[in-house]
C-alpha cells in the first residue's frame, strides 16, 4: 500500500521535472514561432506579449522583401546536399583504403587524418579564403562546397566501423573474385548502412549550419546561404525583432518538421555513430 503511494509520488515528481524541463527547452521554439506572427506592438511593448494579439502573416512577406530568402533556401539545400553526398563518398573510399588496402605508413597517415579532425576550422580559414579569392571563385557554389568535399570525421567513424568487419568475409569475397569496388559496394556498404546514415545526417547539419565560411566567400545576397540571410536580419545597427523571429521561423520550419516526424530515422542513424 505505502509502496504504491510512494510509487505514485515518485511518478508525479518525474512528471513534474520532465514538464518543467520540457517547458524550458520548448519556450524559445514557441517564442520564435509565436513572435513570427506578432505585430511590432507585441514585441516592443514592455513587458512583451507572450501570446500574439493577432495574426500578422505580413511579417513573412516583409522578410522576403528584406532578404532573398527563397534563393538562399535553395542555395543552402544545394550546398548541403552536395557536401553530404561528397563527404559520404570520399569517407567511404578513404576509410576503405585505411582498412582494407595495404599501405606504407598507414599509422602515420591516419594520425595526420585524425589531427585534421581536431583542427579548429577557424584556425585555417584565412589561408583558405585567400586561395578562393585569388582563384576568383568567390560567389560560386564551387567556393561554398570545395573545402568540405572530404571529411576526416566521416572517415574516422567509417574506419572504426570497418575495423569490426570480419576479415573472413573479405577473404571470402576475394576468393569469389570480386574487386575492391565491387566488394565495397556489395558487402561493406550494406553492412555499414547505419554508420553511413549517421555521417550523412551529421554532414548535412554541419553544412546547413555553416556561417563563417559562406560569409567570407559570398557577397551577393542571391548567392548567400540561409544562415547569412538570417544574420543580416539581426544587425547591431538595426534589428527588428519581428523580422528576426519571422526569418528564424521560416528557416527552421523544415528542420523542425524533420526532427519531429523523422525522429525515428535520425535516432537509427545516430545509434551506430554514437557507439563507435
Amino acid at each position: 500500500m505505502s509502496a504504491t503511494v510512494r510509487d505514485r509520488v515518485a511518478k508525479a515528481l518525474v512528471y513534474l521535472v520532465l514538464i518543467a524541463a520540457a517547458l524550458a527547452v520548448v519556450f524559445p521554439v514557441y517564442y520564435a514561432l509565436a513572435g513570427s506572427v506578432m505585430p511590432t506592438r507585441d514585441l516592443t511593448k514592455a513587458p512583451p506579449a507572450l501570446v500574439p494579439s493577432g495574426l500578422h502573416p505580413g511579417n513573412f512577406a516583409d522578410v522576403f522583401r528584406a532578404v532573398p530568402l527563397g534563393h538562399q533556401y535553395l542555395n543552402s539545400v544545394i550546398v548541403s546536399g552536395v557536401i553530404t553526398v561528397a563527404q559520404v563518398v570520399t569517407s567511404l573510399l578513404a576509410a576503405y583504403a585505411f582498412v582494407f588496402l595495404p599501405m606504407k605508413w598507414r599509422g602515420a597517415v591516419f594520425g595526420l587524418f585524425l589531427a585534421t579532425l581536431m583542427i579548429p576550422w577557424e584556425a585555417i580559414i584565412i589561408p583558405n579564403y585567400k586561395t578562393i579569392a585569388n582563384a576568383h571563385l568567390a560567389n560560386t557554389y564551387f567556393a561554398l562546397v570545395l573545402p568540405f568535399l572530404a571529411s576526416a570525421f566521416g572517415t574516422f567513424m567509417l574506419r572504426q566501423s570497418f575495423l569490426q568487419f570480419p576479415m573472413e568475409l573479405r577473404d571470402a569475397a576475394r576468393i569469389d573474385g570480386s574487386g575492391h569496388l565491387r566488394f565495397l559496394w556489395r558487402i561493406v556498404v550494406p553492412v555499414s548502412r547505419p554508420t553511413i546514415a549517421a555521417i550523412a545526417v551529421y554532414s548535412f547539419l554541419s553544412a546547413w549550419n555553416q556561417y563563417f565560411w559562406p560569409l567570407l566567400v559570398t557577397d551577393k545576397p542571391k548567392m548567400q546561404t540561409l544562415q547569412l540571410g538570417m544574420s543580416q536580419l539581426n544587425n547591431s545597427e538595426s534589428a527588428d525583432p519581428r523580422l528576426i523571429l519571422a526569418g528564424v521561423a521560416l528557416s527552421v520550419l523544415p528542420t523542425l518538421l524533420l526532427v519531429v516526424f523523422g525522429q525515428k530515422f535520425i535516432v537509427k542513424g545516430l545509434t551506430s555513430g554514437a557507439v563507435k
Partner: protein, 482 residues
C-alpha cells in the same frame, strides 16, 4: 574501441608532425621587407598613379563597367539602387555601374583588405568615416581633390563641415555621400507627465541628469517602468562630446598633421561622460542596454526610455514606432548635449564617403567613377537620398530643393540637425580624430565604460587601462603601415 593503442599512437605521430612543421616554418624566413617607419602622417595621402583627365573617358571605346561596393541595406539599399539606375540611364552606352551590398561597414572593409591582396578592388567603395585613415594608408585610392582640380570642378557645394572630416593633408580624399549627426531624442508625453517642458530640453549633461531623475518611473513592486535616459554604450557619443567641448580626441591635431599616437581619454569629456553615464546607470535612472545600438533603440521605441542619444538616421523609425507603440507617443529632437554650457564646439559628422580606387584600374574607369561620385553628391540626388533615408544631405544646395523643403515641413524634427550643423564652425576639433584602428579603439573604450557601469572599477582606472591598450594598438598599426 579495441584499437586504443593504435589510436593513441596516431595522435602522438600527428603531434610530432605538427611540431616538425613549426620548426620548419621558423627556419624559412621570407622577409618581404618593410621597415618599421614612423609616422609619415597626414601628407599627400593615398594617391597612387597619375591623375587622368576627362579625355580618358572620351577615348574609351564601348561601355566602361564599374563595380560599386556599399554597406546599405533594406530601405537604404533601394535608395542606392535608385541613384545607380538614374546614373546608368543618364550614361547609357557609356558607363554602367553595378552596385553590390557587401555586408556591414566592417565586413566590407575586411573584404576590401583581401581584394587589395588579390588585386580585385572595386572601382568605387563606400567606407565609413572611421575607415578614412585606413583608406589613405592603403595607398590604393586617388584623392577626389586631385580629380576636381584637374577639371577645375568646384567642391564648394559640399557641406564644409563634412569636407573637413574627409580631408587629410589639406586634400579632400573621398566624396562625401551619406552623413549623419547625433541628436537628443525626447519622448514628449513622458516629459509632460513629469512636468517638464519638451520645448525647453536639457542642454548640458548636468541638466540631462536632473531631467533623467525626474523622468524615471517605478511601479508598486519597485520595478522600473520608465528610465529617464537610455543610450547605447557607444564611443561615438564620447567623440561627439569631445568635439563639442572644443577638445581634441587624439594627438597630432586629431591625427591630421601626423598619424596619431594616442587618444585623450583620461581627462575632459571622455572622463566626465563615463562618470556621468555610469552614475545614472548605477542610480537606476538610465537603462543599460550595452553596446548594440539596436537594443537602445528598441528601448526608446517601446517607450521604456524617455531620452535617448542617436544619429539622425533613426528619426523616421522612431516617429513610426511612436505611433505604433502600445502607449503611443510623440518624438521630439533637440541638439546633442554639451558637457558644460560654455562649450563652443560642434558635432563631428558621422556617416560614410565614396572612395575611388586607382591602383589596378584604368584611366577611363577612374574617370567614370569620378563621374558617378559627382552624380551621387549632386543636389538633386542628395535631396532624394535625404528624403528616402534620413541621412543628412552632403550638398548645401540640396537643402534648397523644393522637395526637401517640403520634406522638412513634414518632419520638423529634422530641422534640429540642420541648425546644429550650420551653427558649427569647422575646426580641428570638429573635424574629428583620424585613426587607423578607430573601430577597435571605440570598442575598447566602450568595454571600459561598461566595466565602470557594471562593476566597482573607477572611471579613472578603466580609462587609463583603455588608453594603454589603445596606444599599443596604434603603435602596432603604425608600424604595420611602415
Amino acid at each position: 574501441m579495441r584499437r586504443t593503442l593504435h589510436g593513441r599512437r596516431s595522435v602522438r605521430i600527428a603531434a610530432g608532425l605538427l611540431a616538425a612543421g613549426l620548426a620548419l616554418s621558423a627556419c624559412g624566413s621570407s622577409s618581404k621587407g618593410g621597415s618599421s617607419g614612423g609616422s609619415s602622417g597626414g601628407s599627400s595621402g593615398g594617391s597612387s598613379g597619375s591623375v587622368p583627365g576627362a579625355d580618358a573617358l572620351d577615348k574609351a571605346s564601348g561601355v566602361v563597367n564599374l563595380t560599386f561596393w556599399h554597406s546599405m541595406k533594406d530601405t537604404n539599399q533601394k535608395a542606392v539602387t535608385a541613384i545607380v539606375d538614374a546614373f546608368n540611364t543618364k550614361y547609357q552606352g557609356k558607363i554602367h555601374v553595378t552596385d553590390t551590398y557587401q555586408g556591414s561597414y566592417d565586413d566590407a572593409i575586411a573584404k576590401y583588405k583581401t581584394a587589395v591582396s588579390s588585386h580585385t578592388t572595386p572601382s568605387l567603395m563606400q567606407v565609413y568615416d572611421v575607415g578614412t585613415r585606413f583608406m589613405v594608408d592603403s595607398k590604393q585610392t586617388i584623392p577626389v581633390a586631385d580629380l576636381a582640380s584637374k577639371d577645375g570642378y568646384a567642391l564648394g557645394d559640399l557641406q564644409p563641415n563634412i569636407v573637413n572630416y574627409y580631408s587629410v593633408g589639406g586634400k579632400l580624399q573621398s566624396m562625401p555621400f551619406n552623413s549623419s549627426m547625433p541628436l537628443l531624442y525626447i519622448n514628449v508625453e513622458a516629459f509632460k507627465k513629469a512636468g517638464l517642458d519638451p520645448a525647453n530640453p536639457p542642454k548640458t549633461l548636468d541638466e540631462l541628469a536632473d531631467a533623467a531623475k525626474k523622468l524615471t518611473v517605478k511601479d508598486a513592486n519597485g520595478t522600473t517602468t520608465q528610465y529617464g535616459f537610455g543610450a547605447a554604450d557607444y564611443g561615438w557619443f564620447v567623440e561627439q562630446l569631445t568635439a563639442e567641448s572644443g577638445a581634441l580626441y587624439c594627438d597630432n591635431d586629431n591625427g591630421r598633421t601626423a598619424r596619431a599616437t594616442k587618444l585623450n581619454l583620461d581627462s575632459g569629456a571622455p572622463l566626465t561622460y563615463t562618470k556621468w553615464w555610469s552614475d545614472l546607470v548605477k542610480g537606476g535612472y538610465a537603462s543599460n542596454t550595452g553596446r548594440p545600438t539596436a537594443d537602445a533603440q528598441a528601448a526608446f521605441k517601446a517607450g521604456k526610455v524617455a531620452m535617448n542619444l542617436e544619429s539622425t538616421g533613426v528619426l523616421g523609425g522612431y516617429v513610426d514606432a511612436g505611433t505604433k507603440a502600445a502607449a503611443p507617443f510623440t518624438v521630439a529632437t533637440a541638439a546633442f548635449p554639451k558637457v558644460t554650457a560654455a562649450d563652443s564646439g560642434g558635432p563631428v559628422i558621422g556617416g560614410a564617403s565614396l572612395w575611388i580606387d586607382r591602383a589596378g584600374h584604368s584611366d577611363a574607369e577612374v574617370r567614370a567613377a569620378w563621374e558617378f561620385a559627382k552624380f551621387a553628391a549632386s543636389a538633386p540626388q542628395q535631396a532624394a537620398w535625404h528624403q528616402a533615408t534620413g541621412y543628412f544631405p552632403v550638398s548645401v544646395a540640396a537643402l534648397q530643393d523644393p522637395t526637401d523643403v517640403a520634406y522638412r515641413q513634414k518632419h520638423p524634427q529634422f530641422q534640429t540637425a540642420i541648425d546644429e550643423l550650420t551653427a558649427t564652425k569647422p575646426s580641428t576639433a570638429t573635424a574629428g580624430c583620424l585613426l587607423g584602428v578607430m573601430p577597435q579603439a571605440r570598442a575598447d573604450l566602450e568595454q571600459a565604460m561598461l566595466n565602470v557601469a557594471t562593476t566597482g572599477t573607477t572611471a579613472e582606472a578603466a580609462l587609463a587601462d583603455a588608453s594603454t591598450k589603445i596606444a599599443k594598438l596604434i603603435s602596432d598599426y603604425n608600424s604595420a603601415v611602415g
